[in-house]
Symmetry: C2
Subunit: 199 residues, 2 copies
């Protein structure tokens, strides 16, 4: 009965799983974030989307569950930030709407930039126990992105639900990718998009 | 190169487009909300998901662009609230990541319950100009749902970006659906899910 436009087929580009093979183990926040920032940079250099990437890992083993890259413009869908992509793919792979489901190990979300309002909400519902952040809201705002209604008490709320938050892991490297995207004329895909910068 | 688990295939159940035919015109907030609440109720009675529905309409013509129902448990994906489903399908149908794209008429999101933190962010990015709400955060919290970090200043933020917010359209009817879901033992699919009510 469904028309074809009633089905959404969403994916990350094939190179994501090549660069970031699910099941591979990564050690420490620095190594995980280096991977995520490399994906954000590849997303820009390949013209695949915005300068953001994120990945879900098992905290104990360091095993990569799923990586996501920003896909808003590629798939013409404002929900497809890097974090939502990584969370949706991770939940698909573990077969649960919560990464805190009883049989599962603890999970964390590592993101190249502080989550926007939508993605902070998705982080809360995802069931991750830990959120690791590189660039900040100010860094994203500086290149033109609207990060939405996130306030200091938003973080209190999330922390109260058992999510540890780690800031400033490789912030400078992640911010360089944001700036390169803007300087390269990347679309700033807010609701009222900013025209590409002229070269 | 992608493994099958690298593709997400997301849809609303086929009966949604039968009950809410895209292109049909609805008049006034009351008629639009009656449709949305009927979908939320059907989602529960058919065992398809949580007690929430939402739809995107063209403001001027009243034409329905896309309807969504909560699909978190059905598709095991915490991002798939009614609002994100409706927004993603609407953007698919108009072919743009913003419902404010230059060639498009103005759009609105009509939702059976106040958006959670994730969906309020998605509303901001969607490009809708108007948000119409039935049940409130308190009504959803009363049956056990975690609505996330939304504060009074969140609404100031969203209003400042040109989104009109309309409250309390058929709130009592929408709240009855929330209560019926809880009383029927529906899963409260927070990150730490509440076990179904007994009896």
């Amino acid at each position: 009965m469904s028309a074809p436009e009633s089905t959404l087929v969403l994916d990350v580009p094939a190179w994501v799983d090549v660069e970031a093979p699910p099941g591979h183990r990564y050690r420490e926040d620095d190594e995980k974030m280096a991977l995520v920032i490399r994906l954000s940079s590849e997303n820009v250099s390949r013209g695949a989307g915005g300068p953001f990437a994120a990945a879900v890992f098992e905290i104990g083993s360091g095993r990569l569950v799923a990586a996501g890259v920003n896909s808003v413009v590629r798939l013409q869908n404002c929900v497809l930030h890097a974090e939502t992509m990584a969370i949706m793919l991770a939940q698909r792979r573990v077969g649960s709407f919560s990464l805190r489901a009883p049989a599962l190990p603890a999970h964390e979300l590592v993101t190249s930039c502080e989550p926007c309002a939508m993605c902070l909400g998705a982080t809360l519902y995802s069931g991750v126990r830990r959120l690791v952040i590189a660039a900040t809201r100010d860094d994203a705002t500086a290149v033109g992105f609207d990060e939405g209604p996130v306030f200091p008490q938003s973080y209190t709320y999330v922390a109260d639900r058992g999510i540890e938050i780690v800031w400033n892991v490789k912030r400078a490297e992640a911010t360089r990718v944001l700036r390169a995207y803007r300087e390269g004329g990347g679309v700033i895909y807010n609701a009222d998009p900013t025209p590409p910068a002229i070269g």
